[in-house]
């Protein structure tokens, strides 16, 4: 019988009611009396020297209050990279300044060089058109290979377009080369992990407010991590003391990584608010979002897999060029390195891995973490080359994977790419996938498709990811400039209800429902009496926010620790009330009782006693019932999965239709299976989107050709099937209190290679010797591959 409350229950989401009735409050919904509007002047060229900016005509336009340019921020700090990477030769990466507004040069189409603040957004927009900017267009650096060979630079001061040249694990390089040289069989694949735009449906929006009486700033902004944003603004960019800056991220309409980062617009509205003594609001339109939100992926990779006669994996070697765009976004150096290279052993006992990543500056928007962040790139390379290898040696692709899987008795398992996997059972996931996908009947389905004149293919994938980001000690050694713990405060109010303040931020993940399930279960009380407070730095403890499938594994662990402290203190109070020893107090179903007696007090009575401490042992116990815990994980968590996909390809047109998509994941323990399933669904939609339709295209001049929904294909309802999702075969994480692993990114990691493998299988079944097609597998690409094979 499934539970209807607490841990494991598919509790319906309480936040849904406000979203379904139009009562959500997203940043742009906030309207403040006397607010004015900011609109940005953005570069129309990809690379250019700013010779002059004449704002005099614009300043005289109706309603214009101020115009700010890069000059106004010349003395302000740059928006930093959060992770310092050293090149193979030990030299540090190049970190050119990323200013609030472009100064001296513009470096990508959309790079803002001025902002108009006016009474209305229409007036500001009109005035932007009147700014006379003399920008000398320079040759654009777009293609990564060209960038590495070029003698002109995105950032002249560093004299190269290479940010770093990273090797992992450098000590294994020679042995990996040797293994590949001497192997019985080597499979090689060159592939492109296509550049994507995250496309949260809510465009970015920031509102700056300044109180001259107290010298305090408030920033409302679309953020996945308000404390991180405040830290970046305070410690690096503007120098506003943290105790004078409140960052509030209210309801946020999706993030997928793009709202982790601090953007210049946030600093600008704060500076303008102080300058004018007015509330200043900026809301991106969709084209601005395409031009300036951090993009994702954009790797060009060559991968080699060495095997012995029996198909045992001996080594993986990859060379990758990773586009970081025109400026380093906050995690853009971590994504292609430690979130990618460390996963390049996959689910396998392969003894040697070597990864080389060259990060490349180009005159394009910054590229950073997008749902999965490095791990989809790793999985895609591995699972594509393994599929190709299976075909080359004539082995079933599932059998080849199983042959090389880490086995259940090998945990903890030290991977050849430097991580220690704590738990898993990849064969069991594969068994379950074959069962729930009804693989046995695939051949019959293939015959049915063939009878319709369609080619059917079956694609498979096994993935592992590192989530629950991240152990601070470990990431500190690896170059992170921040710690990656999280925090929670559990406040039991006098009347027995609870407010739980968390560092994680919910922008679709359902924290308002899920965290109370955990606390309610631990205390034995109704989760409905527990409210989650998030998104406001003036209310919540310093936590690092939501990304990297970390909310439950890291912040949820902090919630557990804080609740444990509450229980300990409440037991002491109960012991006093019951005149017993606190060691004898038991908590069950919200009642504290003395073991072996009928003496008891309710949770509510204890709460009231804590705040009305009459006859209270003040020498032993402080009044109040509120506890905070910071939780820093001991290790990453390692969700894993086995996915399969069946596609039908129309040989006449090259059109691919995903007919069946199955995701079997090991997320460890599951708190709310409904929410977890929904997270997988969303990831699958994005992953299938990447595989079939989505692409970000710059032309040779650095113009973004896919800058609207007319040009960038978003997956729509009729591009996608119903999914089969299963997480019944979880192996609990061994090192966090809930045994959870994280589910937010899995679907987007596991699905792209699955779809591609299925399409290749379909074409092969039709007698076409096609071994690879780059994503997105549009009808044109598929048809061309078939007809050139």
């Amino acid at each position: 019988m499934p539970k209807d409350t607490g841990i494991g229950a598919a509790t319906k989401r309480r936040e849904d009611v406000r979203f379904l009735t139009g009562r959500g409050q997203y940043t742009d919904d906030i309207q403040t009396q006397g607010e004015c509007a900011a609109v940005f002047a953005r570069s129309t060229v990809a690379n250019g020297k700013i010779k002059s900016i004449d704002t005099s005509a614009a300043a005289a336009m109706p309603g214009v209050l101020a115009i700010l340019t890069g000059e106004d921020f010349a003395e302000v700090g740059g928006n930093p990279a959060g992770w310092l990477i050293n090149s193979r030769d030990g030299t540090p990466m190049h970190e050119p300044k990323r200013p609030v507004l472009a100064h001296g040069k513009v470096r990508h189409v959309g790079d803002a060089y001025a902002a108009v603040i006016a009474e209305t957004v229409q007036q500001a927009r009109d005035a932007v058109e009147a700014i006379e900017a003399d920008i000398e267009e320079l040759p654009a650096i777009v293609d990564m290979k060209d960038a590495l060979a070029a003698d002109h630079y995105v950032h002249d001061e560093i004299g190269t377009n290479q940010c770093f040249d990273w090797g992992w694990i450098e000590d294994n390089r020679a042995a990996t080369d040797e293994a590949i040289k001497n192997a019985h069989h080597v499979t090689t694949l060159e592939l492109v992990n296509n550049r994507l735009v995250p496309n949260a449906m809510e465009p970015r929006c920031s509102i700056g407010h300044y109180n001259p009486g107290t010298d305090e700033y408030i920033l409302h902004t679309t953020s996945q991590n308000p404390h991180l944003t405040r830290l970046l603004i305070s410690a690096f960019v503007m120098g506003i003391p943290e105790n004078k800056l409140t960052v509030i991220a209210p309801d946020v309409g999706g993030g997928f990584g793009s709202k982790i980062y601090h953007y210049g617009e946030e600093a600008l509205v704060l500076a303008a608010a102080k300058k004018l003594g007015r509330t200043v609001k900026w809301t991106a339109d969709r084209t601005e979002a395409f031009l300036t939100d951090a993009h994702g992926r954009d790797h060009v990779t060559k991968i080699e897999l060495a095997m012995d006669e029996e198909g045992n994996f001996l080594a993986f070697r990859t060379e990758t060029m990773a586009n970081v765009g025109a400026y380093l976004s906050n995690f853009s150096t971590a994504t292609p390195t430690f979130l990618h290279g460390t996963l390049m052993a996959g689910n396998y006992t392969v003894p040697l891995v070597y990864v080389n990543v060259k990060a490349v500056f180009t005159n394009t928007a910054p590229v950073d973490a997008y749902r999965g962040a490095g791990r989809p790139e790793a999985t895609y390379s591995l699972e594509r080359v393994i599929d190709k290898a299976a075909r080359e040696i004539g082995m079933d692709p599932i059998e080849l994977r199983r042959k090389n899987f880490v086995k259940p008795d090998q945990y903890p398992f030290a991977s050849a790419a430097g991580l220690e996997y704590d738990s898993g059972n990849y064969d069991a996931l594969m068994d379950q996938m074959e069962k729930v996908a009804d693989k046995a009947a695939f051949e019959a389905r293939r015959k049915e498709s063939e009878a319709k004149g369609l080619l059917r293919g079956f694609g498979v994938n096994a993935y592992i990811e590192a989530c629950g980001i991240a152990p601070s000690n470990l990431v500190g050694v690896l170059g992170s400039r921040v710690g990656l713990y999280d925090a929670a405060t559990v406040r039991v109010n006098a009347t027995g209800n609870l407010s739980v303040m968390v560092g994680a931020h919910s922008h679709g993940q359902g924290h308002e429902t899920v965290f109370p399930q955990v606390v309610g279960e631990m205390l034995g009380i109704d989760p409905q009496s527990i409210d989650i407070v998030h998104g406001d730095t003036s209310k919540i403890p310093f936590g690092m926010g939501t990304y990297g499938s970390r909310s439950l594994a890291v912040c949820g662990s902090a919630v557990v620790r804080a609740t444990e402290k509450i229980i300990n203190k409440a037991k002491k109070i109960a012991a006093h009330m019951l005149e017993a020893s606190d060691a004898d107090i038991e908590l069950k179903d919200g009642v504290f009782s003395v073991a072996g007696t009928d003496k008891s007090v309710s949770f509510g009575e204890v709460a009231l006693k804590a705040y009305i401490p009459h006859n209270f042992p003040l020498e032993d116990i402080e009044p109040g019932l509120e506890e905070t815990a910071f939780y820093d994980p001991a290790n990453f968590t390692y969700p894993s999965g086995a996915y399969c996909c069946e596609v039908e390809v129309d040989p006449e047109t090259g059109k691919v239709r995903v007919d069946r998509m199955t995701a079997v994941d090991d997320f460890g323990n599951v708190i709310n299976p409904m929410v977890v399933t929904g997270q997988v669904h969303g990831g699958l939609g994005q992953g299938i989107g990447q595989a079939l339709v989505e692409n970000t295209t710059y032309d040779e001049n650095g113009q973004l050709l896919s800058a609207s929904y007319m040009d960038y294909t978003m997956p729509r309802a009729d591009d996608l099937p119903f999914y089969i999702v299963d997480h019944s075969k979880g192996n609990p994480c061994t090192h966090n209190p809930l045994g959870v692993k994280g589910c937010g990114e899995a679907g987007a990691i596991g699905s792209p290679p699955t779809v591609v493998n299925a399409v290749i299988d379909a074409l092969q079944s039709g007698g076409k010797n096609v071994t690879h097609i780059d994503m997105p597998m549009t009808p044109h690409r598929v048809w061309s591959a078939m007809n050139n094979a």
Binding site: K12, R13, E15, D16, V17, R18, F19, L20, T21, G22, R23, G24, Q25, Y26, D28, D29, Q31, Q122, N199, A200, M201, E202, P203, D251, V252, G253, G254, F256, T283, D285, R286, T287, H507, G508, Q509, G510, M674, V675, T677, G678, H681, G682, G683, L684, G685, Q686, I688, S708, Y709, M710, M714, P715, R716, A717, D718, L720, F722, Y723, I724, V725
Partner: protein, 161 residues
């Protein structure tokens, strides 16, 4: 400025608007009905779908002056008279048909228009009808399922919780 008058969610409202003011802006900024969302500039995303004289319309494709004299329905007016969720809204909650909630008002308004014309749509019909509404969170699975459920169809055979 032009004076416009219309009935929104059963109440007569009026305001002075510029010729270029979109219905979506009028609803959000003048009437403070911020449940109608703006997700794009090209009438592609569907987050701003409202009902105008009973038809589903993207509010960003219409000037406020064009809506003069019409009956407009927005997400704020969809709940039952007692404030409880209507059948479609309830199905979205029951089947986890929303995550971040940003596209949700447009999805609910579009679903209402579909079910008015086609009370028992097939999966394929629902997916085709939703072509003008983009969701980035759900992969559409639970939206399609919720709309089928709202139309009284048995969705128990469709995978997952």
């Amino acid at each position: 400025m032009t004076k416009v008058t219309m009935t929104v969610n059963g109440k007569s409202v009026s305001g002075d608007v510029e010729g270029r003011t979109l219905l979506s802006s009028f609803l959000r900024e003048d009437l403070r009905l911020t449940g109608t969302h703006i997700g794009c500039d090209t009438s592609q995303c569907g987050a701003c779908v409202v009902h105008v004289n009973g038809e589903a319309i993207k509010a960003c494709t219409m000037f406020a002056v064009e809506a003069d004299g019409t009956e407009v329905g927005t997400i704020e007016g969809q709940a039952n008279a007692d404030g409880s969720l209507n059948v479609i809204q309830q199905a979205f909650q029951d089947h986890h048909g929303l995550q971040c909630g940003f596209c949700t008002p447009g999805m609910v308004m579009t679903a209402a228009a579909l079910l008015k014309d086609n009370p028992k749509p097939s999966e394929t019909e629902i997916r085709e009808y939703l072509e003008g509404n983009i969701c980035r969170c759900t992969g559409y699975h639970n939206i399609v399922k919720a709309i089928m459920a709202a139309s009284g169809q048995d969705v128990s055979a469709i995978a997952a919780e």
